[in-house]
């Protein structure tokens, strides 16, 4: 197993002169499940986007190192898997095509196909894999997002609202992968759900009122 560290230092984000986030600092290493909590509108999703490198912070830095070597800030996307309500799949493609596009663009090894089938089965959408995503229900779309995020076996899995839009069967599958991720890397999730929080080793709460 590669040695991983993930550090965030004094992250701040200003949006239209308003402070959304301020002084977010923490450091993680592998085998951790890290939960971010905070009321609605406290900037959880914004923080998640910044940590994944898809939104640049106004101040502060994020440091991610794999096996001792530091990967510069926004370039570590190959190591990240993200599930977020703001992240959608291509509706005009089937589930299989979506996953194959992701695998090709990420230049994954040949075995990705077996893994993709395994994930589709685990999340119970294997029978619908040849259907275009626009015919999917929102729960099925959510499951497909998990397949997409887990396809490349990310070192850091980031989940924004892990159990939203899912039935009990889907939640069970997600929980299974959350446990697996904790053993193989870093798990990070933003939630307010009490049941989800039981999976966390550490809880970081974004305080309201510091701005």
């Amino acid at each position: 197993m590669k040695k991983l560290t993930f550090k965030s230092e004094n992250i701040a984000k200003l949006y239209n002169r308003r402070i959304i986030l301020e002084n977010i600092s923490f450091s993680l290493s592998d085998g951790t499940a890290f939960a971010i909590t905070g009321k609605n509108g406290s900037g959880k999703s914004t923080l998640v986007k910044i940590l994944c490198g898809v939104l640049s912070p106004t101040r502060g830095s994020v440091e991610f190192s794999v096996g001792g070597a530091i990967v510069p800030y926004p370039d570590y996307y190959p190591h990240i898997g993200l599930v977020s309500p703001y992240l959608n799949m291509y509706e005009e493609f089937t589930a299989e095509e979506n996953l194959s596009f992701i695998a090709k663009v990420r230049s994954l090894e040949r075995e990705w196909q077996e893994r993709s089938n395994m994930l589709l089965k685990e999340f119970g959408i294997y029978d619908h894999r040849k259907k275009e995503v626009r015919y999917y229900s929102s729960g099925m779309k959510q499951r497909l997002k998990y397949c997409a995020a887990l396809l490349h076996q990310p070192s850091l899995l980031v989940l924004d609202e892990p159990s939203s839009n899912l039935d009990s069967y889907g939640i069970d599958a997600v929980r299974k992968f959350m446990v697996l991720q904790k053993q193989n890397g870093i798990l990070m999730f933003a939630t307010n759900d009490a049941e989800d929080l039981q999976f966390a080793d550490r809880v970081y709460s974004i305080e309201i009122g510091n701005h």
Binding site: Y77, L87, N88, Y90, E97, S107
Partner: protein, 223 residues
């Protein structure tokens, strides 16, 4: 050569996606048919000068490019897939993939426009076909180069509809004027060497545009 393969996969994705949804293509073909028939109606029995006809050819190409190319980034933003793409690949690959796709789209369009223009408008006689087709090719490349970065800009703006032609027109004007000039040369039966200066302008415009876009695209994409 990761960047080439990822760009290629993005290009293929764009292409297949367009083929499935026909967002742009159907509308664009209708647009071309409509504008050409308006020109044919308005010409009627008149025989306008070759200057006017060369100008209108590029006006048709400009506006069909404007309505077609603006969708590339707006569609990603509207469907919420731009975040997915940002998480998957680096900005350069996205830019190259989209640029090549835009170039292919506008090239197909302008060839269709040019062929029907030559066929239906009898007054428009091309004497030097080398110059004409080279102008179409290089003109399409220039249009695609400037439109791609502008499409990325307007995808992030709040009002997207009318913004694109407003932003694109002053930037594309040197390109369009050169294209019109080269088309005039083609209809006058000039030799290929006489249009070299025009081609040099078109090529350097495209190169400068792509190089600049490449440098600034990251700022637009990661915002």
């Amino acid at each position: 050569m990761m960047i080439i393969s990822t760009s290629y996969h993005i290009f293929v994705k764009e292409f297949v996606s367009e083929f499935r949804t026909r967002y742009a293509l159907n509308a664009l073909l209708m647009f071309v048919v409509t504008t050409l028939s308006i020109i044919l109606f308005s010409i009627g029995q008149e025989s306008p000068s070759i200057d006017v006809l060369s100008g209108t050819l590029w006006i048709v190409i400009f506006f069909s490019a404007m309505s077609g190319l603006s969708r590339t980034f707006v569609a990603e933003e509207e469907r919420g897939t731009s975040l997915t793409l940002r998480l998957l690949v680096n900005a350069s690959s996205v830019y190259i993939g989209k640029l090549v796709y835009n170039f292919a789209l506008i090239l197909v369009l302008s060839v269709i426009i040019a062929v029907s223009y030559v066929l239906f408008i009898t007054e428009f006689t091309v004497k030097t076909f080398e110059i004409f087709w080279l102008t179409i090719l290089l003109g399409s490349a220039g249009l695609a180069s400037a439109s791609t970065i502008l499409a990325a800009i307007i995808a992030k703006a709040n009002t997207k509809g009318t913004l694109f032609p407003v932003l694109a027109f002053p930037i594309l004007l040197p390109l369009l004027l050169t294209c019109i000039n080269a088309t005039k040369l083609a209809t006058e039966g000039a030799f290929l060497v006489e249009a070299v200066k025009e081609f040099q302008i078109l090529i350097s415009f495209t190169v400068v545009m792509i190089a600049t876009s490449f440098l600034v695209f990251d700022f637009v994409w990661k915002d």
